[in-house]
């Protein structure tokens, strides 16, 4: 019978993370404030921004754009007044 070996795990130690439920979904978009947080290259988000604003004129669209790997955080005021966030990452 072939010899057996104990073989070790190469994986690192993952720190635990507290997890949260998703924010409640919107029943309708009308009259809501929806924030587009765009980071990376413009690309798809150029037509996306145009189409969203044109197709949903009753939404109060707010936008932040940043050429960076980390999106811009919402301000305290935006956190109070924003109903939903779309995070666009384009690389």
């Amino acid at each position: 019978m072939a010899e057996t070996f104990k073989c070790l795990n190469p994986t690192g130690i993952q720190p635990p993370v507290k997890t949260f439920p998703l924010a409640p979904r919107l029943d309708s978009l009308d009259g809501k404030t929806i924030h587009m947080s765009i980071c990376g290259e413009a690309d798809i988000w150029v037509p996306m921004e145009k189409m969203l604003k044109a197709n949903y004129p009753n939404v109060n669209w707010t936008v932040n754009k940043r050429y960076h790997i980390v999106p811009m955080e919402l301000t305290e005021e935006q956190r109070k007044t924003t109903d939903a966030v779309i995070l666009g990452v384009c690389w």
Binding site: P10, L22, I44, W45, I69
Partner: protein
Amino acid sequence: MHDSTLHGIPKLRHLVASRNSVGGVTEAEYLLPLVIEELTRPLNQEEQKGGLWAPYESRILFEGTLQEAEEFYNQVEYIPEILNAPFSRYTDGLPVVIPTEERVEAMLKGTSHKPDELMTLQRDLDVRGFGAIDISTRRKKGDLVTFMPMYRSATVEQVAVNAVMAGCKPEQFPVVLAIAESGGGTGDGRGGGGAFMVSGPIYKEIGMNVTNFVFGPGNPVNKALGRVGSLMWRNLGGYKETVTTITTLGSPVTNGGFIIAGVYNDTLYGTDEFYLIKTNSSGDVGWLTTLPQQGLSWEGAYSVQETTDNGFIMVGYTREEYGQYDVCLIYYNPWPQPDVKANGMDGPLNVSSNVIVSITIELHPSTYFDTYSDWWFVVWAPWGIYSLVWDQGWVPWLVPTIQYPLYHISSPFEVFRGRLPPGNYIVYFGVDKADGIVNPYLRYDEVWINVK
């Protein structure tokens, strides 16, 4: 998706799209209804749960014969969506040396650190960011080493497991620990393995090749040390392509291949110049160039790094005959660099409809001077996309303005002058390979104009 997990929202809804179509219109049309659906579709039970994400990994991963272990360690998993391909669960894609307890124990004899000691920094460390990753950090001696991209920690024994798998020997383990101390970095598009510089007498003691063909096959130490980073970032750091990070090509240069900087010795004039060679991924020369001298006689590059705009920054030396050496930093961009301005500005330009708008272009062809190319002058107007064609004027959609060799336009050349109706406009000026269509070689500039 790893970021959402690490920030406590593993069930974050996400959508994926390619970037294949011109201007991204096709992808935007595909994504738009899906985005709206994700905003409005009620949460399911899983999405409403909170809790603790704490994956557990046992010290002994597998028990069996060596043959069975080989099969186990070389397993792959299929990664859907962007990658859409198999990906190795524990390796860099090649067979590994099986990390039996005995082999790992032997590896640990190469260091005085204890097996259960957590990896910590052995010195203060400044990590400089740049471009779109300008996140500089200062870390102190004794801080835990954070293995990226999953922000994990590791024991000395876990590093030794990866060293065994890479084919390293115990006498090389101090170098492996030094590499591990970097914590890895899985790239912003340029590679998941990294490159390492080994200095000091240890390079001789462990038998590295530092003369000819240092990146080539043949020297076991160069190869094993070059490989161990890929395994550590995969296993210790949790790097999983398109899941925990996106590295696109995994090459030192964003469009593939290698960039090499050095010295060009001009035997006719007896001077040295900065020398830059770009190869494709097979090692064939794509282009090479010497750089204009900075007015001195002896200059050369020691190091080169790609910049976020796909140019190259080199550091080297410069000196007069019999003079002192000075440090020299040179930036070089090999790509054509089109520039478009509205009323002399890069934009956005905000004007009223009674103001005359002047749109000018400039072009620096760099290494593509005299290369037959498509020239594009395109406007995205409120009523559609229009191209300015040399002999036809404005035509709908994307048509090259002209096919012509690239040349220097070093002072602003006015292409359009007039008033614009109210609305938002984006004006593009670009050049690419002469095939009549927009292709991946496109280099362009844009200016936004908002007319009220």
